[in-house]
Symmetry: C2
């Protein structure tokens, strides 16, 4: 198998020798762990201590490589974060690849190596996988599904329906970096070099948050649809309103400027390494301190409060002293951002 100049062929998904070779020489070597080495159609793992959590995410980001990451690292971070925002410790990942015939094996290797590095850095192994190949023109290079399993310690109860009036709303850092990094690249904008995706695995930050404020009510990562979608989801699930303050929402100047150029609103732009937390007022300062003590939460901020509102509106006090509704986006702002 020529990993330098070769291309994905339909045979790589055919269940025969070519597929076995791709698995052995690429996936097994990169992901290398005892579970994958079982080489069965499933991974046999241990008996976990706690309630199981399961999350799945398919990744179709375009372009595949971008400042701050690629579809490989993103697919590891995204699912780890979806598991971790339940308060769970992520334990295992699966990886399902859909490859397009003709895709360069060298690019696939780069992506797989990046996944492997991200999984290793996070301490969450990729224990089982699957590869399918579709004909040229029926896919787009590589799509990756990752599914994660973790365990929630007893006593931790975090869910989008637990926000209560009086709770504080926090974010772990600057918003909009991921979406703007991708869009700048796509639009070929000159400022693209300065803004990098924030793609990161948040499970250790979240573990520190839960340890210091075990009464956190909600955690969610503001990915597609950005902060606006996340707050509206939680408001709807909990049957509460929210008030946020524009001046307190951390957005980098470059991101603000890029958004203006691209016609985007940073509140709606995807993040891949940020978490939104809702917690009771008495725990807020402890939670904020725990977040700021972690490298991925250094720029954390309290951005607003939960209020009683049967319409579940999210409202923002603007920098100009006004007030506006932060609605869901109704259309597609940024296709294939993750």
């Amino acid at each position: 198998m020529d990993l330098k100049r070769g291309k994905v062929e339909l045979a790589h998904g055919g269940g025969g020798r070519a597929m076995a070779q791709l698995i052995d020489e690429l996936f097994q070597q990169a992901f290398e762990n005892p579970w994958l080495r079982q080489a069965n159609d499933q991974a046999l793992l241990t008996r976990p201590e706690g309630r199981i959590v399961m999350a799945t995410d398919s990744h179709v980001v375009s372009p595949l490589f971008f400042p701050g990451g690629d579809i490989g690292s993103l697919s590891v971070h995204g699912t780890i974060n979806d598991v971790a925002t339940s308060g769970a410790r992520p334990l295992w990942l699966s990886a399902g690849f859909i490859l397009e015939e003709g895709f360069p094996l060298a690019d696939l290797k780069r992506i797989v190596d990046s996944m492997a590095a991200a999984a290793r850095a996070a301490g969450v192994p990729i224990v089982t996988g699957d590869t399918k190949v579709v004909e040229r023109g029926k896919g787009d290079g590589v799509f990756i599904n990752t599914t994660g399993v973790g365990v929630v310690p007893d006593g931790v109860e975090i869910s989008g329906d637990r926000a209560r009036p009086g709770d504080r709303i926090l974010v772990s850092g600057f918003l909009g970096d991921h979406g703007v990094a991708i869009m700048s690249l796509r639009e070929n904008l000159s400022f693209s070099t300065n803004i990098e995706s924030d793609s990161a695995a948040l499970h250790e930050l979240i573990a520190a948050m839960v340890e210091n404020a075990p009464d956190i009510h909600c955690l969610r990562d503001p990915t597609r649809g950005g902060l606006a979608a996340t707050l509206n989801e939680i408001a709807r699930q909990s049957g509460v309103g929210m008030t946020i303050r524009e001046d307190d929402i951390p957005v980098r100047e470059e991101v603000d400027a890029a958004c203006e150029l691209l016609g985007l609103d940073p509140l709606y732009v995807a993040n891949e390494g940020k978490v939104v937390a809702v917690c009771p007022p008495e725990s807020t300062e402890r939670l904020l301190a725990a977040m700021r003590a972690h490298p991925l939460g250094r720029d954390a901020a309290i951005i607003g409060e939960v209020v009683a509102d049967e319409h579940a509106f999210v409202q923002m006090e603007t920098s100009f002293g006004g007030r506006r509704n932060v609605d869901w986006i109704s259309g597609e702002q940024l296709p294939r951002i993750c």
Copy 2:
């Protein structure tokens, strides 16, 4: 949302109101269960009693609808079977959809309803999910990843590396139905009406097998690459050879005839509702009886033996009294068969 005449739009993957509507009105309604109703980015499940097993499978079958099933039911059966062939009881499934812009919502609903029916019939709920949309021409209607989690009871040790010389090899029924059903449809052959996919969830059959013969060494479902690939995989993993008898391998006459027309070998054709078992000689009759007592194992047969062979060759005694090597396929025999 017009589920009768509408089409998938990029907005359905955008994280905004359109996506929320698709999830509420289609996925939630069809899959309906308390875990999905949590409506978080992950499902919080119970603490399981036993070792965890995880399996993943992306489905890209073409065409999407075929005699005996569709991509929806197939995606449920395929992953349940990959979990179950470890001897595990499948507990939960995740579902990740990659939709192509312009795909008819009515077809999507048909697929989702079929998934829901298959999951319900199997007693394995779809507890969490994800939806992505790619632009027209960057996908092919619908791709579905399902990932399954199950638990293996203590004492059960089933793996592809446990085959030993003297062990018997069994299959649960007629081979080649799925692959031939798909290929007949693709090639528009007149006999297409007679052959149906064998797509089925095998976990109950397998539970009965494990209960009656707890010392089963290997179980695997002969999907892509067919019986030939499965036997070669097990032979390689276990470092043993295998001898099978052509006359004892159950293949329907119509499938044999269709294979001749299509230039296929039934040994290499995919199955989606069959299992191959390797077990010690003393348990063979008990295992065979347990298989035949189950509707999905009615036509089970003993097809050969494991032999000592450092080259891990799979050999077949042919109907004509000869002997030939059953090698891996080296190329792609049947693209997008699952």
